[in-house]
Amino acid sequence: MLTKLPVIAALTAQDIVVASEPTWLQQWRQAAWQHVNEGAVPLWRRTDLTAFALADMEFSATTSTSQLGSAIPDGVVVMPLSQAVREHGDLVKAHLGSAVSFNASKYAALNAATWRDGWFVYVPKNHEASVPLHLLQGFGAGNTLVARNLVVLERGAQLSLIEQYAGDGGPFAVVASELILGEGATLKYTSMQTWGANVHHMGHQVAKVGNDATIVWTSVNTGAAHQHIDAETNLVGNGSRVDWTAATVAGEGQRLLTAPWLRHVGRATEAHMDFKTVVKGSGYATFDGMIKIEGGSTDTVTRLEEHALHLSPQARSDSIPGLKIDTNNVQKAGHASTSGEVDDEQLFYMQARGIPKSDAVHMIVMGFFESVLDRIPLDTLREQVTADISARI
C-alpha cells in the first residue's frame, strides 16, 4: 500500500540523518540541511526557480534507482555510494563534498543533505580500465530523485565513464557528481541528460583535476522540460587539461541551461571548450559560462567556442560567456561564438545537389553535432542518441 511521502521542505534535521551512517556524515548532512533552510535563494536569472520549488518536492528514501548499463570494468570499484560509506569509509570521507560543496547552492545543499542513491566509482593507482563504465540513473518512488555520484581516479588511473539520466517520472531530479582526478589520471567523462520530456533537472557537476591529469568531458543534453546544470572543471593541478564539448537540443517547451565554469588554478593548464546548441520550436537554451584564470595560474591556454543553431523563429538561445583574468601571464585566451539560423550558403549548396531542404537542414544539424556525438564511447548508446536527436530535428 502506498503511503504519502513527506514533502522535503517539511523535514526536520532529525529526518535527514541516516542512523546507520557514521557521525561525520550525519553531521555533514545536517550542516547541508541548515544551508537548505538558511542559505540564500540562488541568483539564477535565467532559470525559472518555480520549476524547482522545494515545497513541491517529496522526500523518497528509494535506493534502487541507480543501474549499470554496462559490466564493471576489471579492477574498478563500482558500488552504491551508500554501500561505499560502509566499505570504503576513509575514501568516501576524504572526497565526499570536496568537489561539489553544499555551499554551492541550496540545491547542492539539498542533494548533500538528502541523497540516498548514486554510485561510488574508484580506480586504483595506475590502473587503466579497459572498457567504458555506464552508470544509468532513473526515477524511483516519489516525485523527487536525489542522487549523488562520487568518482575517484587515483594517480595515473584511466577510465571512460558514462553517466546517463534517462527515463520518465519525477519530475524533480536533484543530482550531483564529483569527479576527483589524481596526478596524471585520465577521465573520459560523458554526461548525458536524456530524461523524458517532463523532467525538471537540477545538476551540479564538478571535476577537480590534479597535476598533469586530463579530463575529456562530453556533455549531451536532450531531455527534460527544465534543466539547470552548474558544471565546473577546476584545473587545480599544474599541467592539468580539459577538453570539454557539449551538445544541447532544446525543442518545443524545453528550457535547458548549462552554466559551465572553468577555473585555471595550476600552472600551465590548458582548456578547450566547444559547446554546441540547437534550439527548435519554442525551445530555449542558455549558455551561462565563466572562465576564471586565477592569480597563480601562469602559461595558461584557454579557448572557448560556443555555437547555436536556430531552427525556428520562436526558438531562443542566450549566450553569456565571461572571462576573468587575475594573472598577467596568459599564454593564449580565445573566444569564438556564433548564433543564428542554418547557413544559407550551406543549404543552397546541398539543395543544388538535389537534396531537399528539410534533408539538407537535417544533415547540417547532425554534422554540427558530429564532433560531440562521435565521442560517446559505446556504439549502441551513440547510435541511440544520434537517432533520438535525428528524429527530433
Binding site: M350, Q351, A352, R353, P356
Partner: protein, 260 residues
C-alpha cells in the same frame, strides 16, 4: 534538351545585375561565357540554380519543358542541372561520402516510392565513388573527410568534379572552375570534365570563365561574351582567342562606344 534563357533580369538587393540575358545552350556542346569581373557571369550561374541572394525580376529559364525559375533548387538539380561552384562551402561534420550518397539517392528518388527502394545499393555506391576518386587523383581518405572542410582550392574543385561525375547531370554549369587552380590541378579537373563529356555526349556544358586559359583544356564550341549584365557578342572558339589577344576593351568600345 536545350537550356534557353530568355530576357533574364536579376537583382541583388536593389541593384540590377542581370539586365536581360538571352542565351541558348544546346545539348552536346560546350558553351563558354567570358567576361570581365563584375559583368554578371556568376550571378547568371547562381540565378539559374536558384541562389536565395538573387531575385529574378523578369525573364525565364527553360529546360526540359519547364521554367526552372519556378522550381525549388533541389528540383532543378534533379532535372539535370548541375552547378560546379566557384567557392564551394564547407559543411563540417558531413563527410564527402555521406553527402554524395544523399545527393545520389536524392537524384534517384521517385515521388510516391519508398526511398529504400530507390536508393543506390551500398556496395555499388562504394565501387562507383572509389573509381571516380581514382580517376580524379583524389585519395580514398577524402570520402571520410568533412565536405570541403580544410580542403585546398584544388581539392575543392576536384571534389566538385567528383560530384559532377557521380550525379551525371545533363546540363553542367561550371562557375570559374579555373580560379585558384595551378596548372596541374587545372589539367586534372579539365580531364575529369572531358571524360564525363565522352561518357555523356549529350551533356551540355556552360563554362563560365574570366580567362581563356581554361578553354585550352575544355574546348568550347560556342563562346558568348557577357558585359554589364547582358550577352553582347557570340561566336565560335576563335572569339575566345581574340579576347585573349585583345582584351575586353575592344568589345566594350564596339558595344557601348567610348561614352563610358
Amino acid at each position: 534538351m536545350e537550356l534557353v534563357i530568355k530576357d533574364l533580369h536579376a537583382n541583388i538587393g536593389d541593384k540590377e545585375i542581370l539586365k536581360g540575358v538571352n542565351l541558348t545552350v544546346t545539348p552536346g556542346t560546350i558553351h563558354a561565357i567570358m567576361g570581365p569581373n563584375g559583368s554578371g557571369k556568376s550571378t547568371l550561374s547562381n540565378t539559374i540554380m536558384g541562389h536565395p541572394s538573387y531575385t529574378v525580376t523578369s525573364g525565364e529559364v527553360w529546360y526540359k519543358g519547364q521554367n526552372v525559375l519556378e522550381l525549388p533548387v533541389d528540383e532543378r538539380a534533379k532535372l539535370g542541372l548541375f552547378l560546379a561552384f566557384q567557392y564551394p562551402v564547407s559543411i563540417p561534420g558531413v563527410t564527402v561520402a555521406n553527402f554524395l550518397r544523399a545527393a545520389v539517392n536524392a537524384h534517384r528518388s521517385v515521388a510516391g516510392k519508398d526511398t529504400r527502394e530507390t536508393a543506390i545499393p551500398m556496395a555499388q555506391y562504394r565501387k562507383e565513388i572509389r573509381e571516380k576518386m581514382a580517376a580524379l587523383g583524389v585519395d580514398d581518405s577524402f570520402a571520410r573527410r568533412y565536405l570541403n572542410d580544410g580542403f585546398s582550392g584544388g581539392e575543392k574543385k576536384r571534389v566538385e568534379i567528383l560530384q559532377m561525375s557521380m550525379l551525371k547531370p545533363s546540363m553542367a554549369i561550371m562557375d570559374e572552375t579555373d580560379s585558384g587552380l595551378d596548372i596541374d590541378a587545372l589539367k586534372v579537373v579539365s580531364q575529369g570534365v572531358n571524360t564525363l563529356l565522352t561518357q555523356n555526349p549529350e551533356m551540355g556544358v556552360l563554362v563560365i570563365t574570366h580567362y581563356q586559359r581554361l578553354l585550352n583544356y575544355i574546348k568550347p564550341h560556342r563562346v558568348s561574351v557577357m558585359m554589364e549584365g547582358r550577352i553582347v557578342r557570340e561566336g565560335g572558339p576563335e572569339l575566345a582567342l581574340e579576347l585573349e589577344e585583345r582584351g575586353y576593351d575592344f568589345i566594350r568600345e564596339e558595344v557601348f562606344g567610348n561614352a563610358n
